[in-house]
């Protein structure tokens, strides 16, 4: 068998075994080893390659930020900040139409930014904000849509782990990516805001004003106190983490470390720094870091054997033969990413499949930073697109009385907004590229 044929067989087996459902990290590693031995005709080369690839990942300084951000997220999640945030914002937005939905959106945006963990954001909002909205006689579908959409913002808005992984596989600086994702993230959140206000204004029965007996009567000083204790600490924490990265005061790892220590402090201030909470945060961080880390190990081995067998070249030639132009290739890649989001998780897509496209960005003259931001926006949609939409299942898990169909129906408008946001980003790429160029200078000019 020619090396290229081996490469193709390797890719086919990969897709097949991933779909069957074997832990992906080990599938990748074993395929790399097996095809390495056959393709190079040497056990030693394959073995040494595996060890070298693994060690390269163990000593990578970009990836250090991953456990630190995860730890910060798990700690913030357990600090009870979400309850306070939601309650203080609820008091501030007052009794107007759709007020609770807006409080949910703001809470979700800030919380998701701070934690970057989709499942927890959706579930916690589902436990707290959803019952509040249902009590206020919101339409269940609309309320579910708001919760699922607000909870998924974290994978796009920095500091997101997705962008660290993308920066790593694409060789783009993570701070640049964070600067690039900032405006598109705000834009998406802003579009949600416009939709919620518009819908509540046009159809008051979907998101009615709070009934008199449900209103919180608080004095102005008390409201300020709530904001000071509920909103300000987390806003300052996450603002400081982001700002220090963006102005170059700290690397992402350094900012994440400081954020993690601050999160411990926040939990302590809220009297939630229990042994149990700390333990859970540590163990979950270890598990998620291992999941990502070993996936990178497996994928690193797979990718280097695949490339040496000429597989990457073959894919490149194939795409060239399709005769696509820049725009065609860009959207073909985005479509593939979108559909991969159905059977796969974003970690797998980013670590395994994106590297197949990345070598083609340069010949097609596509900015890897812009491609990365669009990809992050795109991957967010997979959380909201039925039938797999993980967000719907997280919400259903904590609110079993809701019907899946109701949740799906509520998600569609937000899914449409996400697709709209992708279109806007495509028309105005400066949304992603302007801020990084301002902050860090245009590449090549420095």
């Amino acid at each position: 068998m020619s090396p290229e044929a081996l490469g193709m067989l390797m890719l086919f087996l990969l897709v097949f075994t991933i779909l069957i459902g074997f832990p992906t990290a080990f599938t990748l590693m074993a395929l790399g080893v097996i095809f390495g031995v056959i393709g190079f005709g040497s056990v030693d080369i394959a073995r040494d390659l595996l060890v070298q690839r693994t060690y390269t990942l163990m000593r990578n300084d970009v990836l250090v930020a991953i456990p630190l951000f995860l730890f910060m997220g798990y700690m913030i999640e357990r600090s009870g900040v979400l309850d306070r945030l939601f309650y203080s914002l609820q008091v501030v937005v007052g009794p107007m139409n759709g007020a609770l939905a807006l409080a949910t959106l703001f809470t979700g945006t800030i919380f998701a930014t701070a934690t970057g963990i989709v499942g927890a954001s959706v579930a916690l909002l589902g436990v707290l904000a959803l019952p509040a909205m249902l009590r206020a006689r919101y339409q269940p579908a609309f309320a579910s849509g708001v919760v699922t959409a607000s909870g998924t913002l974290g994978i796009l808005i920095p500091p997101s782990v997705l962008l660290i992984l993308y920066g790593f596989v694409a060789g783009v600086s993570v701070p640049r990516l964070y600067a690039g994702a900032f405006l598109p993230g705000l834009m998406l959140s802003g579009l949600y805001l416009v939709y919620i206000i518009g819908r509540a204004y046009l159809q008051p029965n979907v998101a009615p004003a709070l009934a008199k007996e449900l209103r919180q009567h608080v004095t102005v000083p008390h409201a300020l106190w709530l904001l000071l204790t509920g909103f300000l600490p987390i806003a300052v924490l996450i603002g400081a983490v982001l700002a220090s990265i963006l102005v170059g005061l700290a690397t992402p790892s350094e900012a994440a470390a400081l954020g993690g220590v601050a999160a411990i402090g926040l939990a302590a201030a809220y009297r939630r720094l229990t042994w149990q909470n700390l333990k859970e945060s540590v163990f979950l961080t270890a598990r998620t870091s291992a999941m990502v880390g070993w996936l990178l190990v497996g994928s690193g081995m797979f990718a280097s054997v695949f490339a040496r067998l000429g597989g990457a070249q073959l894919i490149g030639d194939f795409v060239v033969r399709l005769g696509l132009n820049e725009v065609g290739f860009f959207w073909l890649a985005q479509a593939i990413i979108f559909f991969l989001g159905w059977p796969l998780e974003w970690t797998e897509i980013t670590i395994i499949f994106l590297p197949l496209f990345l070598p083609l960005l340069e010949p097609f003259n596509i900015d890897p930073l812009f491609f990365g931001i669009m990809t992050a926006l795109n991957q967010q949609t997979s959380f909201l697109s039925p039938p797999v939409a993980m967000s719907a299942y997280y919400l259903k898990g904590v609110a079993p009385t809701l019907l899946l169909n109701q949740i799906f129906r509520g998600m569609y408008p937000f899914l449409a907004i996400q697709v709209l946001a992708m279109g806007v980003l495509w028309l105005f790429p400066a949304l992603a590229t302007w801020l990084p160029d301002v902050v860090y200078g245009v590449i090549g000019e420095r």
Partner: protein, 194 residues
């Protein structure tokens, strides 16, 4: 553990426990990492006194955490897997697929990692290798030894998972595994079911 454990179960749980305990113990390094990096930042920015081994120290802690938690993650079945078809299959089909794929696709990679890792670490010990990123960098041979050790833990946990698959294939029921902390969404969903 109300259910009476058989001999096999006891062995399986024992390995689960070793993997879990090890993964958790090394997991605490993330707190060390957070304080270590923070300390370095503060010392550098405010006192102009950076830690000498800050750069090497941070990746050494990172690499150790994720490598050593690999077996724990496998014991909790928390490595990412494409599950659209898998979850809907009957237990025996799941078990047959797992058994076959563990034999075909788990052991070749991990055995190579153990075997290659031992040579890799041994060479490093022999030359008492130190990091070259800074002059007088920290020794790295202990860190390189993490690679084969983590692989051995994974290998043991993999044997356990293979036996579990074989048991499930025979009985039609998945043997129990050790539980511990759950993600918030899982925990909240379980509370809701009660």
């Amino acid at each position: 553990m109300a259910v009476k454990e058989g001999e096999v179960d006891r062995y399986l749980f024992w390995v689960d426990r070793v993997s879990t305990w090890t993964g958790k113990a090394f997991g605490w390094l993330v707190v060390v990492l957070a304080f270590f990096v923070s300390w370095d930042v503060l010392a550098r920015k405010f006192f102009d006194a950076p830690l000498a081994w800050a750069y090497d120290g941070s990746y050494i802690l990172y690499g150790t955490i994720f490598m050593m938690a690999g077996a724990y993650t496998l014991a909790r079945n928390a490595h990412v897997r494409g599950d659209i078809f898998y979850t809907n299959w009957p237990v025996r089909t799941q078990a047959a697929v797992d058994l076959l794929l563990y034999l075909l696709f788990f052991f070749p990679g991990i055995i190579f990692l153990v075997w290659g890792g031992i040579d890799f670490a041994e060479l490093s010990w022999r030359v008492q290798e130190r990091s070259t990123t800074t002059s007088g960098g920290p020794p790295v041979y202990q860190f390189k030894t993490v690679l084969p050790i983590a692989a051995v833990f994974l290998l043991a946990q993999g044997v356990v998972e293979t036996i579990r698959a074989a048991l499930a294939l025979r009985s039609g029921v998945w043997p129990r595994r050790l539980g511990d902390v759950e993600e918030t969404e899982t925990k909240l969903a379980q509370q809701e079911q009660l």
